[in-house]
């Protein structure tokens, strides 16, 4: 298990290094360079070269990358000239809000999808299965912003059950102290993943039910209930953990849209706002942090998998 974890950690570090390289290359692609982006189109040539010398942008690229990495290790993500503030300071209180949104809605999606997928597998090809399958497909085809807007139209404007957006000054933990304000964004994000998770759970349970040990359990006279919960459930659950790690980038991307729809002040909304302001350093900073958060999340999912699967836990071959 330790070997597996170390190898997995090494992979995550390589991926994060690679992402820093991609983000660095992107920052070099700005037409006219960072100086033009910071100083505006009216800057003179001497102002630009002064800016470049001041910020070390006249040095060879690999030196600049090295300084960028050193800066990242110190927690320095660059400077937002539009906001006259460091990127790190701007991101730091937004990140927990996105993490809480993604965490709570993913948990909700799992709590709905796992029993749903099992129920569909047990009643395979019955009316219940077919109707849930149809609902899944419609949900899967719906763009995130449409789900969000429809929820607002129906539950906020027509029924007045929930506010159309959480209070803008809410802290990251307000989702637990004032849950009513967060119902719509959390449900919108969960709706995006529930379809995929329940489909996967359904086929995973169906696969597991054909295993030899299930037949053995049946032959020994286990009741259907005992076979389903005692033997099939935990084994069918394992692939869901892998899926969780693989889906995480998509969930974080979905969170960006949901934050925009519900005006929820997380990393996604910050990214969208800074994109409209042409604040490239801030956009690149949020992209890097969102990716690192995603890689760490996937790593955690794999660690959970390793802890849950005896074939890995007891030191097998992967």
């Amino acid at each position: 298990m330790l070997g597996y974890l170390l190898r997995r950690l090494g992979q995550a570090i390589i991926v994060i290094l690679g992402v820093t390289l991609i983000v660095f290359v992107l920052s070099q692609l700005i037409p006219g360079g960072q100086a033009r982006a910071a100083l505006g189109p009216k800057a003179t040539q001497s102002q630009i070269s002064h800016f470049n010398i001041l910020n070390g942008f006249n040095q060879p690229l690999w030196v600049q990358y090295w300084h960028y990495i050193l800066g990242l290790l110190r927690g320095d993500l660059g400077y937002s000239y539009r906001n006259n503030q460091g990127v790190t300071a701007l991101i730091i209180n937004r990140l927990p809000k996105t993490v809480v949104l993604v965490g709570v809605s993913t948990l909700l999606a799992l709590v709905i999808a796992i029993p749903l997928g099992m129920a569909q597998a047990v009643r395979r090809n019955h009316v219940f299965d077919y109707s849930m399958t149809a609902v899944s497909f419609v949900l899967y085809a719906m763009p995130a912003f449409l789900i969000g807007e429809l929820l607002i139209l129906f539950f906020a404007f027509t029924l007045h059950w929930f506010p159309s957006q959480p209070p803008s000054d809410a802290s990251a933990w307000a989702v637990f102290t004032n849950p009513r304000a967060f119902v719509l964004p959390v449900v919108a994000l969960a709706a995006l993943t529930v379809a995929g998770f329940s489909r996967y759970m359904r086929s995973s349970v169906l696969d597991t039910l054909t295993e030899d040990y299930i037949r053995t359990a049946k032959a020994k006279g286990g009741s259907p209930r005992r076979i389903l919960y005692g033997h099939a459930f935990r084994n069918a659950l394992l692939p869901i953990l892998t899926l969780l790690g693989l889906t995480l980038p998509a969930i974080v991307g979905g969170a960006l849209i949901v934050e925009d729809v519900f005006n929820y002040p997380g990393m996604g909304l910050l990214t969208v706002q800074s994109a409209s302001n042409d604040d490239i350093p801030l956009v690149l900073g949020t992209t890097l942090i969102a990716t690192i958060a995603t890689v760490v999340g996937s790593l955690l999912a794999d660690v959970l998998y390793a802890a849950a699967d005896p074939r890995i836990r007891l030191g097998g071959d992967d």
């Binding site: 992402v19 719906m142 139209l153 960006l256």
Partner: protein
């Protein structure tokens, strides 16, 4: 039911020697009349896919020929603001009402649909072509070259697509052409991985070995044997990717990062429409929302049916 979204995840496919033996033999699978006829037959058996294809043709005609029949001003903002009422409900003059600039919504659906469909189609095309080249080279040469190329794909796939897309759109101002390039730049990774997996299994096949023994060049093996035999995988992916690209463009438009006014796309239209959600201007929200969802669902059903009809291995299973 076979349209399972997660069949599209780039998970390694289980190897089955039985299934491989049933794969099409020999070089160019496309030019075989019997194969095409068989493919058409299996496709038309799927009623939902046929309905989807008809619907898609209708939408293309609606967007590209419709403006000739239902003539509206869609480019002159000044004229629209002066000569028509803003946000007016459907009437005989404006069948689906007007939007906040006074543009006719039905005409705008066609006009914006052109951008959405063109960007969706060409972004998928470019992404697929890059993915084929990258994946085929990686899989064919193998070794450390393959390992390095695939690590790069892993790294790219770990960045949430929308963040990367927004970063690219912020750096390069969004015009329709730039949007095609940018959306392609974030979506070629999955086909690269698919084609690589396909190449890895194909290059060990007897007929590829035979070409090699007969002295066929690498270029010939990749171009005449490996890529044509991956055509099923390629076409199916490309179909799904058109849907995904349309959704990505819609998301960008919705975030206010679509094509600049007075041009428009479906996402931008929806984004403008929902500003008036509390005013009850339904004609600015539901028609365009429906267009996006129906086109995406139709493309998914078609891709699904194509998979059934092109993947000979699946057919005979």
């Amino acid at each position: 039911m076979s349209m399972d979204p997660f069949e599209r995840l780039p998970l390694p496919e289980p190897e089955s020697s039985d299934a491989e033996a049933l794969a099409p033999e020999g070089g160019n699978a496309v030019s075989d009349g019997g194969f095409l006829r068989n493919m058409f037959h299996v496709f038309t058996e799927n009623k939902l896919a046929v309905i989807s294809a008809v619907f898609l043709i209708f939408i293309v005609v609606f967007c590209f020929i419709g403006p000739d029949l239902y003539v509206t001003n869609q480019t002159n903002t000044q004229d629209a603001l002066l000569n028509s009422t803003q946000n007016s409900p459907p009437s005989s003059a404006h069948w689906l009402g007007t939007d906040e600039s006074g543009f006719d919504v039905l005409g705008r659906l066609m006009y914006g649909g052109q951008i959405s469909l063109i960007v969706g189609f060409f972004a998928a095309l470019v992404a697929t072509v890059i993915g084929i080249a990258y994946g085929a080279l990686s899989g064919f040469f193998g070794g450390w070259f393959d390992a390095a190329l695939m690590r790069f794909v892993d790294i790219g796939l770990s960045i949430p697509v929308l963040f990367l897309l927004i970063a690219l759109v912020t750096i390069y101002r969004p015009t329709a052409t730039m949007l095609i390039v940018v959306i392609a730049a974030v979506s070629w990774l999955v086909p690269a991985r698919l084609i690589r997996a396909e190449t890895l299994t194909l290059r060990t096949r007897e007929y590829v070995q035979a070409v090699r023994v007969m002295g066929g060049t690498r270029k010939r093996i990749i171009g005449r044997h490996i890529v044509p035999n991956s055509v099923g995988t390629i076409v199916v992916f490309a179909t799904f990717d058109v849907a995904d690209s349309i959704l990505l463009l819609a998301a960008l438009g919705f975030l206010g990062l679509g094509v600049p006014a007075p041009q428009t796309d479906w996402g931008t239209m929806l984004s403008n429409g929902v500003n008036f959600a509390s005013n009850g201007y339904w004609w600015e929200i539901y028609p365009v929302g429906l267009c996006i969802v129906l086109v995406v669902v139709a493309l998914n059903y078609i891709g699904d049916a194509l998979r059934d009809s092109l993947e000979v291995r699946l057919q005979r299973r």
